[in-house]
């Protein structure tokens, strides 16, 4: 850990957050959802759009996405980060934004995302077809994996083989997410869900059923990052960024060295080292649950349990409301919201828990939170450790 990174610990804080259009937003565009979330996050921070001079954003479709966002919002940013590494992007944006704030390159960074993946008229079939052409995977596509789902299914098959993990343990993750979602009025799926219902749900790519898989929703999220001293003068309780780390080891699942070990091991280690904290110091976790297996892998790779013990760790409602470790308190990508990329929603829920804005789902006494993003097919990983002033 370089002194430089240590010195960035707590140097910036999230001053504003917002979501918009989560669930179904028929008749909207990606940009319209993004702009509504952006405007609300800036207002939440007690700032105006004219105060925003830094922008981080990414899109699943447009490769030059920061440009139309700058144009639409009418801003003139002196710092722009359009890094696109899938759903973890909006967590990976943190560290570059902190550097830009600390160097004086900019004073207020808006991180934002929006997608109408659920209701868009341009269907997923066309997206898949165009991606095949623009971003080919010639060594996988001939075998017709249903990507991204089949990649996670392969990882699950390996975890089950190697560690005796069961489908019932995977189902625990989906049921816990649903129980949290039932306490979140913003969540998309709030009907009761049982382990047996997950086990008997339609199989999509063995061993993962449709209930082991994230939602396809619309939705947008945004947050505003400023220097810590400025955050203290703004209306909302500052949420300090204590650590952030990002790691990519591969893109394709067939190039992943060990399907039971993700790059979250590196991203988590970097984030914890920068924060000077350990897993036991974290009060609430937001883990990118694109599929149930993700949560087991990240609990292990981030150090909350030993490798191979994720399945046993989540049993008996351990990560559900009232369990020993609160995970994905908004209902996660499995039951709350998943518009193509989820990472920004993990950050937003962490901030809401730290601010005590969780309503019926609020965890008592939260002073630290971890938000972890995943991208591609277990390809990119980014971990953020966040905390209140007491954690500085």
């Amino acid at each position: 850990m370089s002194g430089d990174l240590k010195s960035l610990r707590g140097s910036a804080a999230i001053a504003g957050v917002a979501t918009f259009g989560c669930g179904e937003a028929p008749g909207y565009t990606d940009m319209e959802l993004l702009a509504n979330a952006a405007r609300a996050a800036v207002a939440d921070a007690g700032l105006t759009m004219q105060d925003i001079d830094g922008l981080c954003t990414a899109s699943g479709g447009a490769t030059m996405w920061p440009m139309p966002v700058v144009e639409y919002l009418g801003i003139r940013p002196t710092f722009i980060d359009g890094t696109m590494i899938g759903g973890s992007s909006f967590i990976a944006h943190l560290l570059p934004a902190m550097r830009a704030l600390q160097s004086g390159q900019c004073n207020a960074v808006l991180v934002c995302y929006g997608s109408v993946q659920r209701t868009a008229t341009f269907g997923r079939r066309e997206v898949v077809a165009s991606r095949r052409f623009l971003d080919p995977q010639p060594y996988e596509m001939p075998y017709e994996p249903m990507l991204p789902l089949s990649a996670y299914a392969l990882a699950a098959s390996r975890h089950m083989h190697q560690y005796g993990t069961t489908r019932r343990q995977l189902a625990e993750v989906a049921v816990a997410a649903r129980q949290w979602a039932q306490r979140n009025p913003e969540a998309f799926m709030r009907d009761p869900l049982t382990i047996d219902e997950v086990l008997n749900a339609r199989m999509v790519s063995d061993p993962l059923t449709v209930r082991d898989s994230c939602l396809v929703t619309d939705g947008a999220g945004a947050y505003v990052l400023v220097r810590a001293d400025r955050a203290r003068d703004l209306p909302k309780t500052p949420v300090y960024v204590l650590g952030n780390g990002t790691a990519v080891w591969n893109r394709q699942i067939s190039s992943m060295h060990d399907l039971t070990v993700t790059a979250a091991r590196d991203s988590g280690q970097a984030a914890f080292a920068m924060a000077g904290l350990k897993p036991k110091d974290i009060d609430v976790l937001q883990l990118y649950d694109a599929f149930t297996i993700n949560v087991l892998l990240f609990l292990e790779d981030l150090g909350f349990c030993a490798k191979g013990e994720g399945g046993a760790f989540v049993e008996n409602g351990a990560i559900a409301p009232g369990g020993r470790l609160p995970v994905n308190t908004n209902g996660g990508g499995l039951s709350c919201v998943h518009p193509g990329m989820y990472g920004i929603f993990a950050v937003i829920e962490a901030v809401r828990q730290l601010r005590g804005e969780g309503g019926e789902r609020q965890v008592a006494g939260v002073k630290t939170a971890l938000a972890h993003g995943n991208g591609g097919t277990l390809s990119s990983q980014s971990t953020a450790v966040l905390g209140l002033a007491e954690a500085l």
């Binding site: 052409f133 080919p136 075998y143 392969l154 390996r158 339609r202 790519s205 067939s254």
Partner: protein, 140 residues
């Protein structure tokens, strides 16, 4: 819509490594690479060794034998082609690839089964698929 190697009329001796690898498959031959720097096997084919960065990679015919490392069955309606096996196979040379195991129901494919590569033509291009080695496939 995809620019296939065939469409580019490439032979094993011209073009980049992807084109050469595909040309060999189209010709019924499965090739991997071996690094001249660190001697490790490399797959998928690359212009440099992902282990040591060396640029001298030689083509090699693998033994073709390997082990199922991970497996899934993609569930599809019959009109969409029906259920389909997708497996990750570890070749004995120490490289992994995505493929499928044929000749048995996909849900009977198990991690640890020994398999052997076969080149077949699909959609106008050669691809590598695998068959169980030794009857019941539970060998080794």
């Amino acid at each position: 819509m995809l620019l296939t190697v065939q469409a580019m009329n490439t032979s094993i001796d011209t073009g980049g490594v992807l084109a050469r690898h595909q040309a060999a498959l189209n010709d019924g031959r499965f090739l991997i690479q071996r690094c001249g720097g660190c001697s490790r096997a490399v797959y998928f084919p690359r212009a440099l060794c992902p282990h040591c960065g060396h640029g001298d990679l030689a083509w090699e015919v693998p033994k073709g034998t390997g082990t199922v490392y991970a497996v899934t069955t993609v569930r599809r309606k019959p009109e969409a082609g029906g259920d389909c096996n997708v497996s990750l196979i570890d070749l004995d040379e120490g490289v992994r690839l995505m493929s499928r195991v044929e000749g048995l129901p996909s849900t009977d494919v198990r991690i640890g089964q020994r398999v052997k590569a076969r080149v077949m033509q699909q959609g106008g291009q050669g691809i590598v698929v695998f068959d169980l080695l030794g009857g019941d496939g539970e060998g080794a």
